[in-house]
Symmetry: C2
Subunit: 206 residues, 2 copies
Protein backbone atom coordinates (compact mmCIF):
# COMPACT_ATOMS: atom_id res chain seq x y z
CA UNK A 1 0.00 0.00 0.00
CA UNK A 2 1.30 3.43 -0.96
CA UNK A 3 2.03 6.26 1.48
CA UNK A 4 -0.72 8.42 2.93
CA UNK A 5 -0.76 11.76 1.12
CA UNK A 6 -1.00 14.68 3.54
CA UNK A 7 -1.94 18.31 3.03
CA UNK A 8 -0.58 20.69 5.67
CA UNK A 9 -2.22 24.03 6.40
CA UNK A 10 -0.87 26.35 9.09
CA UNK A 11 -0.22 30.06 8.89
CA UNK A 12 3.04 30.00 10.83
CA UNK A 13 5.70 28.97 8.37
CA UNK A 14 8.05 27.77 11.06
CA UNK A 15 5.46 25.51 12.64
CA UNK A 16 4.30 24.33 9.26
CA UNK A 17 7.81 23.38 8.25
CA UNK A 18 8.46 21.74 11.57
CA UNK A 19 5.30 19.65 11.31
CA UNK A 20 6.34 18.64 7.83
CA UNK A 21 9.69 17.54 9.19
CA UNK A 22 7.97 15.60 11.95
CA UNK A 23 5.61 13.79 9.61
CA UNK A 24 8.24 13.10 7.00
CA UNK A 25 10.08 11.01 9.54
CA UNK A 26 7.29 8.49 9.16
CA UNK A 27 7.87 6.30 6.12
CA UNK A 28 4.17 5.75 5.49
CA UNK A 29 3.32 9.46 5.42
CA UNK A 30 4.00 11.84 2.58
CA UNK A 31 3.42 15.57 2.91
CA UNK A 32 2.50 16.45 -0.65
CA UNK A 33 1.60 20.10 -0.23
CA UNK A 34 1.79 22.91 2.32
CA UNK A 35 -0.28 26.07 2.42
CA UNK A 36 -0.29 29.07 4.75
CA UNK A 37 -3.79 30.41 4.17
CA UNK A 38 -7.25 28.97 4.61
CA UNK A 39 -8.42 30.10 1.21
CA UNK A 40 -5.70 28.13 -0.55
CA UNK A 41 -6.71 24.80 0.93
CA UNK A 42 -9.32 23.67 -1.58
CA UNK A 43 -7.25 24.59 -4.63
CA UNK A 44 -4.23 22.81 -3.23
CA UNK A 45 -6.29 19.74 -2.42
CA UNK A 46 -7.77 19.71 -5.91
CA UNK A 47 -4.32 19.76 -7.40
CA UNK A 48 -2.52 17.32 -5.13
CA UNK A 49 -5.30 15.00 -4.03
CA UNK A 50 -4.25 14.39 -0.43
CA UNK A 51 -5.76 11.58 1.62
CA UNK A 52 -5.71 13.61 4.80
CA UNK A 53 -5.74 17.38 5.36
CA UNK A 54 -4.19 18.74 8.51
CA UNK A 55 -5.84 22.13 9.11
CA UNK A 56 -5.04 24.73 11.70
CA UNK A 57 -8.11 26.57 12.99
CA UNK A 58 -6.45 29.97 13.14
CA UNK A 59 -5.50 31.07 9.65
CA UNK A 60 -5.63 34.25 7.59
CA UNK A 61 -7.83 34.42 4.53
CA UNK A 62 -10.28 31.82 5.72
CA UNK A 63 -10.39 30.16 9.11
CA UNK A 64 -9.77 26.45 9.33
CA UNK A 65 -13.38 25.61 10.17
CA UNK A 66 -14.72 27.29 7.05
CA UNK A 67 -11.89 25.78 5.03
CA UNK A 68 -12.94 22.36 6.32
CA UNK A 69 -16.53 22.98 5.23
CA UNK A 70 -15.38 24.00 1.76
CA UNK A 71 -13.10 21.01 1.52
CA UNK A 72 -15.91 18.64 2.38
CA UNK A 73 -18.16 20.37 -0.14
CA UNK A 74 -15.51 19.85 -2.82
CA UNK A 75 -15.99 16.09 -2.42
CA UNK A 76 -12.39 15.15 -2.98
CA UNK A 77 -12.55 12.17 -0.67
CA UNK A 78 -10.13 13.86 1.64
CA UNK A 79 -10.46 13.32 5.38
CA UNK A 80 -9.84 16.21 7.73
CA UNK A 81 -7.85 16.45 10.94
CA UNK A 82 -8.10 19.80 12.70
CA UNK A 83 -5.16 21.04 14.72
CA UNK A 84 -5.45 24.00 17.02
CA UNK A 85 -3.67 25.96 19.67
CA UNK A 86 -6.78 26.61 21.68
CA UNK A 87 -8.99 23.95 23.17
CA UNK A 88 -12.13 26.00 22.91
CA UNK A 89 -15.05 23.65 23.50
CA UNK A 90 -17.05 25.36 20.77
CA UNK A 91 -14.38 24.71 18.17
CA UNK A 92 -14.66 20.96 18.49
CA UNK A 93 -18.37 21.02 17.89
CA UNK A 94 -18.03 23.35 14.94
CA UNK A 95 -15.21 21.26 13.50
CA UNK A 96 -17.16 18.04 13.73
CA UNK A 97 -20.29 19.56 12.22
CA UNK A 98 -18.08 20.99 9.48
CA UNK A 99 -17.18 17.44 8.57
CA UNK A 100 -13.81 16.97 10.24
CA UNK A 101 -12.81 13.46 11.29
CA UNK A 102 -10.44 14.47 14.03
CA UNK A 103 -9.46 17.25 16.38
CA UNK A 104 -6.18 17.58 18.26
CA UNK A 105 -4.79 20.45 20.28
CA UNK A 106 -1.22 21.58 19.88
CA UNK A 107 -0.11 20.35 23.23
CA UNK A 108 -0.69 16.70 22.57
CA UNK A 109 2.59 14.79 22.42
CA UNK A 110 4.32 14.93 19.06
CA UNK A 111 4.50 11.15 18.88
CA UNK A 112 0.75 10.94 18.59
CA UNK A 113 0.30 13.14 15.57
CA UNK A 114 1.36 10.57 13.01
CA UNK A 115 -0.92 8.06 14.65
CA UNK A 116 -3.80 10.49 14.56
CA UNK A 117 -3.21 10.98 10.84
CA UNK A 118 -3.23 7.23 10.28
CA UNK A 119 -6.39 6.76 12.30
CA UNK A 120 -8.18 9.50 10.43
CA UNK A 121 -7.06 8.00 7.16
CA UNK A 122 -8.57 4.69 8.18
CA UNK A 123 -11.88 6.41 8.68
CA UNK A 124 -11.68 6.51 12.46
CA UNK A 125 -12.46 9.56 14.54
CA UNK A 126 -9.76 11.16 16.63
CA UNK A 127 -10.79 13.45 19.44
CA UNK A 128 -8.99 14.74 22.48
CA UNK A 129 -10.91 13.04 25.33
CA UNK A 130 -10.65 15.89 27.82
CA UNK A 131 -11.92 18.32 25.25
CA UNK A 132 -14.76 16.02 24.25
CA UNK A 133 -15.92 15.95 27.87
CA UNK A 134 -15.84 19.75 28.08
CA UNK A 135 -17.72 19.98 24.87
CA UNK A 136 -20.52 17.80 26.14
CA UNK A 137 -20.80 19.69 29.40
CA UNK A 138 -20.60 22.98 27.66
CA UNK A 139 -23.48 22.90 25.25
CA UNK A 140 -24.01 25.26 22.39
CA UNK A 141 -23.74 29.00 22.38
CA UNK A 142 -26.67 30.53 24.23
CA UNK A 143 -26.32 33.70 22.19
CA UNK A 144 -28.65 34.59 19.37
CA UNK A 145 -27.16 35.58 16.05
CA UNK A 146 -27.71 39.25 16.66
CA UNK A 147 -26.26 39.14 20.13
CA UNK A 148 -23.19 37.49 18.68
CA UNK A 149 -22.93 40.21 16.03
CA UNK A 150 -23.17 42.96 18.58
CA UNK A 151 -20.66 41.31 20.87
CA UNK A 152 -18.25 40.84 18.01
CA UNK A 153 -18.56 44.47 17.00
CA UNK A 154 -17.88 45.49 20.57
CA UNK A 155 -14.89 43.16 20.84
CA UNK A 156 -12.20 45.68 20.02
CA UNK A 157 -13.35 48.21 22.55
CA UNK A 158 -15.73 50.37 20.53
CA UNK A 159 -18.52 52.32 22.21
CA UNK A 160 -22.22 51.61 21.89
CA UNK A 161 -22.42 54.38 19.31
CA UNK A 162 -19.66 52.75 17.25
CA UNK A 163 -21.41 49.40 17.29
CA UNK A 164 -24.75 50.97 16.42
CA UNK A 165 -23.21 52.74 13.43
CA UNK A 166 -21.44 49.59 12.28
CA UNK A 167 -24.55 47.42 12.41
CA UNK A 168 -27.07 50.09 11.43
CA UNK A 169 -28.95 49.72 14.67
CA UNK A 170 -30.28 52.13 17.22
CA UNK A 171 -28.13 52.65 20.28
CA UNK A 172 -30.90 51.41 22.47
CA UNK A 173 -31.12 48.15 20.56
CA UNK A 174 -27.40 47.64 20.85
CA UNK A 175 -27.63 48.17 24.58
CA UNK A 176 -30.45 45.66 24.77
CA UNK A 177 -28.53 43.00 22.90
CA UNK A 178 -25.44 43.65 24.95
CA UNK A 179 -27.39 43.50 28.15
CA UNK A 180 -28.90 40.21 27.13
CA UNK A 181 -25.50 38.82 26.14
CA UNK A 182 -24.05 39.94 29.46
CA UNK A 183 -26.87 38.17 31.24
CA UNK A 184 -26.48 34.95 29.30
CA UNK A 185 -22.72 34.78 29.77
CA UNK A 186 -22.99 35.46 33.48
CA UNK A 187 -20.74 38.45 33.08
CA UNK A 188 -21.01 41.84 34.67
CA UNK A 189 -19.55 44.02 31.99
CA UNK A 190 -19.38 43.97 28.25
CA UNK A 191 -15.64 43.27 28.27
CA UNK A 192 -16.12 40.28 30.52
CA UNK A 193 -18.90 38.99 28.28
CA UNK A 194 -16.57 39.23 25.29
CA UNK A 195 -13.88 37.34 27.14
CA UNK A 196 -16.25 34.54 28.18
CA UNK A 197 -17.67 34.24 24.69
CA UNK A 198 -14.23 34.04 23.10
CA UNK A 199 -12.99 31.51 25.62
CA UNK A 200 -15.92 29.25 24.85
CA UNK A 201 -15.48 29.54 21.13
CA UNK A 202 -18.78 31.36 20.69
CA UNK A 203 -16.97 34.34 19.23
CA UNK A 204 -13.88 34.32 17.01
CA UNK A 205 -10.82 35.91 18.63
CA UNK A 206 -8.80 38.94 17.49
Amino acid sequence: MSAIRVLLADDQALVRGALAALLSMEPDLDVVVEVGRGDEVVAAAREHRPDVALLDVEMPGLDGLSAARDLVAARLGCRILMVTTFGRPGYLKQAMSAGASGFVVKDTPAKQLADAVRRVHQGLRVVDPALAADSLTQGDSPLTERETDVLRAARDGGTVADVARELFLSEGTVRNHLSSAIGKTGARTRAEAVRVAVENGWLPPS
Copy 2:
Protein backbone atom coordinates in the same frame (compact mmCIF):
# COMPACT_ATOMS: atom_id res chain seq x y z
CA MET B 1 34.04 20.30 15.52
CA SER B 2 31.25 18.67 17.49
CA ALA B 3 27.56 19.34 17.02
CA ILE B 4 25.84 22.40 18.46
CA ARG B 5 23.91 21.41 21.56
CA VAL B 6 20.40 22.88 21.59
CA LEU B 7 17.85 23.34 24.37
CA LEU B 8 14.24 23.59 23.19
CA ALA B 9 11.58 25.32 25.27
CA ASP B 10 8.00 25.61 24.04
CA ASP B 11 4.80 24.89 25.89
CA GLN B 12 2.99 23.24 23.00
CA ALA B 13 4.25 19.67 22.93
CA LEU B 14 3.32 19.19 19.31
CA VAL B 15 5.23 22.25 18.18
CA ARG B 16 8.15 21.39 20.42
CA GLY B 17 8.39 17.90 19.00
CA ALA B 18 8.03 19.21 15.48
CA LEU B 19 10.80 21.74 15.98
CA ALA B 20 12.98 18.99 17.37
CA ALA B 21 12.30 16.94 14.26
CA LEU B 22 13.13 19.92 12.08
CA LEU B 23 16.41 20.64 13.82
CA SER B 24 17.46 17.03 14.04
CA MET B 25 17.50 16.90 10.27
CA GLU B 26 20.61 19.08 10.43
CA PRO B 27 23.68 16.95 11.10
CA ASP B 28 25.49 19.72 12.96
CA LEU B 29 22.65 20.35 15.43
CA ASP B 30 21.79 18.20 18.40
CA VAL B 31 18.67 18.81 20.48
CA VAL B 32 19.85 17.63 23.87
CA VAL B 33 16.85 18.57 25.99
CA GLU B 34 13.26 19.75 25.65
CA VAL B 35 11.15 21.50 28.28
CA GLY B 36 7.58 22.73 28.27
CA ARG B 37 7.71 25.33 31.03
CA GLY B 38 9.71 28.50 31.54
CA ASP B 39 10.68 27.61 35.08
CA GLU B 40 12.38 24.41 33.98
CA VAL B 41 14.77 26.11 31.59
CA VAL B 42 17.61 26.95 33.94
CA ALA B 43 17.70 23.55 35.62
CA ALA B 44 17.66 21.80 32.26
CA ALA B 45 20.44 24.02 30.99
CA ARG B 46 22.50 23.37 34.07
CA GLU B 47 22.18 19.67 33.55
CA HIS B 48 22.65 19.41 29.81
CA ARG B 49 24.90 22.39 29.06
CA PRO B 50 23.42 23.45 25.72
CA ASP B 51 25.26 25.88 23.45
CA VAL B 52 22.05 27.53 22.31
CA ALA B 53 18.66 27.80 24.00
CA LEU B 54 15.59 28.19 21.83
CA LEU B 55 12.95 29.85 24.01
CA ASP B 56 9.32 30.55 23.25
CA VAL B 57 8.06 33.80 24.77
CA GLU B 58 4.66 32.44 25.77
CA MET B 59 5.10 29.72 28.37
CA PRO B 60 3.43 28.66 31.61
CA GLY B 61 5.36 28.86 34.85
CA LEU B 62 7.66 31.60 33.73
CA ASP B 63 7.50 33.55 30.50
CA GLY B 64 10.35 33.22 28.04
CA LEU B 65 11.69 36.71 28.66
CA SER B 66 12.12 36.13 32.38
CA ALA B 67 13.52 32.67 31.67
CA ALA B 68 16.08 34.32 29.39
CA ARG B 69 17.09 36.73 32.14
CA ASP B 70 17.52 33.87 34.58
CA LEU B 71 19.48 31.85 32.08
CA VAL B 72 21.88 34.73 31.49
CA ALA B 73 22.24 35.23 35.21
CA ALA B 74 23.17 31.56 35.59
CA ARG B 75 26.27 32.24 33.45
CA LEU B 76 26.31 28.92 31.69
CA GLY B 77 27.77 30.36 28.53
CA CYS B 78 24.59 29.52 26.72
CA ARG B 79 23.40 31.83 23.96
CA ILE B 80 19.70 32.54 23.59
CA LEU B 81 17.44 32.61 20.56
CA MET B 82 13.89 33.73 21.28
CA VAL B 83 11.06 32.34 19.17
CA THR B 84 7.60 33.79 19.32
CA THR B 85 4.19 33.69 17.73
CA PHE B 86 3.60 37.38 18.10
CA GLY B 87 5.76 40.07 16.61
CA ARG B 88 5.06 42.56 19.34
CA PRO B 89 7.59 45.36 18.98
CA GLY B 90 7.98 45.55 22.74
CA TYR B 91 8.97 41.92 23.01
CA LEU B 92 12.07 42.37 20.86
CA LYS B 93 13.35 45.16 23.04
CA GLN B 94 12.68 43.25 26.22
CA ALA B 95 14.30 40.13 24.79
CA MET B 96 17.44 41.94 23.78
CA SER B 97 17.76 43.72 27.10
CA ALA B 98 17.21 40.37 28.79
CA GLY B 99 20.35 39.18 27.06
CA ALA B 100 19.01 37.24 24.08
CA SER B 101 21.19 37.02 20.99
CA GLY B 102 18.40 36.51 18.51
CA PHE B 103 14.70 36.92 17.95
CA VAL B 104 12.61 35.18 15.28
CA VAL B 105 8.87 35.05 14.81
CA LYS B 106 7.08 31.84 14.06
CA ASP B 107 6.24 32.76 10.53
CA THR B 108 9.77 32.93 9.28
CA PRO B 109 10.50 30.13 6.80
CA ALA B 110 11.44 26.85 8.43
CA LYS B 111 14.64 26.66 6.41
CA GLN B 112 16.04 29.66 8.23
CA LEU B 113 15.72 28.34 11.75
CA ALA B 114 18.76 26.10 11.65
CA ASP B 115 20.76 28.95 10.19
CA ALA B 116 19.59 31.27 12.92
CA VAL B 117 20.73 28.76 15.51
CA ARG B 118 24.16 28.53 13.86
CA ARG B 119 24.49 32.29 13.66
CA VAL B 120 23.59 32.73 17.29
CA HIS B 121 26.04 30.02 18.23
CA GLN B 122 28.77 31.91 16.41
CA GLY B 123 28.03 34.94 18.52
CA LEU B 124 26.15 36.84 15.85
CA ARG B 125 22.85 38.56 16.42
CA VAL B 126 19.75 37.39 14.58
CA VAL B 127 16.82 39.74 14.34
CA ASP B 128 13.80 39.83 12.08
CA PRO B 129 14.45 42.99 10.00
CA ALA B 130 10.83 44.06 9.71
CA LEU B 131 10.36 43.73 13.42
CA ALA B 132 13.55 45.64 14.16
CA ALA B 133 12.26 48.55 12.11
CA ASP B 134 8.95 48.52 13.99
CA SER B 135 10.77 48.40 17.24
CA LEU B 136 12.78 51.47 16.43
CA THR B 137 9.75 53.42 15.27
CA GLN B 138 7.74 52.26 18.20
CA GLY B 139 9.77 53.38 21.12
CA ASP B 140 9.24 52.31 24.66
CA SER B 141 6.02 52.01 26.54
CA PRO B 142 4.67 55.45 27.39
CA LEU B 143 2.88 54.02 30.38
CA THR B 144 4.11 54.48 33.92
CA GLU B 145 4.42 51.43 36.12
CA ARG B 146 1.21 52.16 37.94
CA GLU B 147 -0.73 52.79 34.78
CA THR B 148 0.46 49.43 33.52
CA ASP B 149 -0.64 47.77 36.76
CA VAL B 150 -4.08 49.29 36.57
CA LEU B 151 -4.47 48.41 32.92
CA ARG B 152 -3.41 44.85 33.60
CA ALA B 153 -5.90 44.52 36.43
CA ALA B 154 -8.62 45.85 34.15
CA ARG B 155 -7.66 43.50 31.33
CA ASP B 156 -10.17 40.76 32.04
CA GLY B 157 -13.15 43.05 32.17
CA GLY B 158 -13.30 43.97 35.84
CA THR B 159 -14.93 47.18 37.00
CA VAL B 160 -13.13 50.15 38.52
CA ALA B 161 -14.21 48.94 41.95
CA ASP B 162 -12.66 45.52 41.27
CA VAL B 163 -9.37 47.06 40.21
CA ALA B 164 -9.33 49.40 43.18
CA ARG B 165 -9.84 46.50 45.55
CA GLU B 166 -7.19 44.42 43.86
CA LEU B 167 -4.55 47.15 44.00
CA PHE B 168 -5.61 48.75 47.28
CA LEU B 169 -6.27 52.07 45.62
CA SER B 170 -9.11 54.53 45.74
CA GLU B 171 -11.57 54.30 42.89
CA GLY B 172 -10.79 57.84 41.90
CA THR B 173 -7.10 57.04 41.57
CA VAL B 174 -7.87 54.04 39.42
CA ARG B 175 -9.99 56.20 37.18
CA ASN B 176 -7.19 58.73 36.94
CA HIS B 177 -4.61 56.14 35.96
CA LEU B 178 -6.99 54.59 33.48
CA SER B 179 -7.82 57.94 32.01
CA SER B 180 -4.16 58.73 31.61
CA ALA B 181 -3.47 55.34 30.03
CA ILE B 182 -6.37 55.86 27.66
CA GLY B 183 -4.94 59.22 26.69
CA LYS B 184 -1.43 57.91 26.12
CA THR B 185 -2.56 54.97 24.01
CA GLY B 186 -4.78 57.17 21.88
CA ALA B 187 -7.74 55.00 22.80
CA ARG B 188 -11.23 56.08 23.64
CA THR B 189 -12.23 53.39 26.06
CA ARG B 190 -10.52 51.24 28.61
CA ALA B 191 -10.99 48.10 26.51
CA GLU B 192 -9.37 49.75 23.52
CA ALA B 193 -6.47 50.91 25.66
CA VAL B 194 -5.94 47.35 26.84
CA ARG B 195 -5.97 46.09 23.27
CA VAL B 196 -3.45 48.68 22.10
CA ALA B 197 -1.16 48.03 25.04
CA VAL B 198 -1.21 44.28 24.49
CA GLU B 199 -0.62 44.61 20.76
CA ASN B 200 2.45 46.70 21.42
CA GLY B 201 3.83 44.34 23.98
CA TRP B 202 3.43 46.88 26.79
CA LEU B 203 1.11 44.51 28.61
CA PRO B 204 1.29 40.71 28.76
CA PRO B 205 -1.69 38.99 27.10
CA SER B 206 -4.25 36.67 28.70
